[in-house]
Amino acid sequence: MTVASWEITTNYYLILGALLFTIGAVGLLTRRNVLVMFMCVELMLNAVNLTFVAFADALNDIRGQVIVFFVLSVAAAEVAVGLGIIVAIFRRRRGATADDLDLLKDSTS
């Protein structure tokens, strides 16, 4: 290959993680559908996981991978509870978007 001298370093993975995190954050701020917002949170979690694994690889330390294991299990618990909350919301108000969930907001505005 002609690009054999071009090495993939840790920084490439960090930049990819940064891009993925930013896409997730922008999606979380712009989308109205609570389910898609939730998926954007998963994107951001994946960006952080990618960064953890990149650092684990760079420092040759298995503990970086163990932390990702915990992030994965917390993400699974978060999805279970979060989707339960979303189902509860949708049962009360069909077709609700994030903008409709403003019951605590001052109604005069």
Partner: protein, 184 residues
């Protein structure tokens, strides 16, 4: 070959992420999320995280996305998102803030991070004593010795999450009935 895999699957990761936030239909977002998750799993493999790559595919692409699709189908919210913008300028502000965030994170990522500090030999990913075994055995050793207490807490967290999900799903049915009666 390493470069080829990084470029292809890095591009697929970003393409899937853009698909998640740009698709009007939530089902398409969920399917794009699968592309991103599997591509990240391949990037994990590239960095000697074999167990995590498998867990990523099984737990994320297998369980979590199926759960998302299940809820989308159950609630019937697979109609396209509205482009209505109740908070004026929110999308523009979000994109500007996103660019600022990207600049900040890239500024951090661009630093020289390798301090030369190395983990102790029992915690290394590669090399070291051959008796340390493969990636799965190394993760398992760390998980069940150094991280045993957090691991036990994770078990409690998962049980609490299951109980919480069941309670949320049950109580909402009764509450939903009263709301429907009040509205009628």
């Amino acid at each position: 070959m390493t470069q080829f895999i990084f470029v292809v699957f890095g591009a697929l990761t970003l393409a899937g992420a853009f698909g998640v936030i740009l698709a009007r239909n939530p089902v398409h977002s969920a399917l794009s999320l699968v592309v991103t998750l599997v591509s990240v799993a391949v990037l994990f493999l590239q960095q000697d995280a074999h167990l995590l790559a498998a867990v990523q595919v099984v737990v994320y692409a297998g369980a979590i996305v199926v759960l998302f699709l299940f809820v989308i189908m159950l609630l019937g919210v697979d109609h396209p998102d509205t482009l209505r913008d109740p908070l004026r300028g929110q999308r523009v502000a979000a994109i500007v803030l996103g660019v600022v965030l990207l600049a900040e994170v890239l500024f951090l990522a661009g630093h020289h991070w390798a301090t030369g500090a190395k983990a102790a030999a029992p915690q290394s990913i590669r090399g070291g004593d051959p008796g340390l075994g493969n990636n799965v055995e190394r993760v398992a050793r760390s998980l069940f010795t150094d991280f045993l207490w957090p691991f036990e807490i994770t078990a409690a967290l998962l049980v609490l999450a299951v109980i919480g999900a069941v309670i949320l799903a049950r109580r909402s049915r009764q509450a939903g009935d009263t709301v429907a009666e009040d509205a009628s």
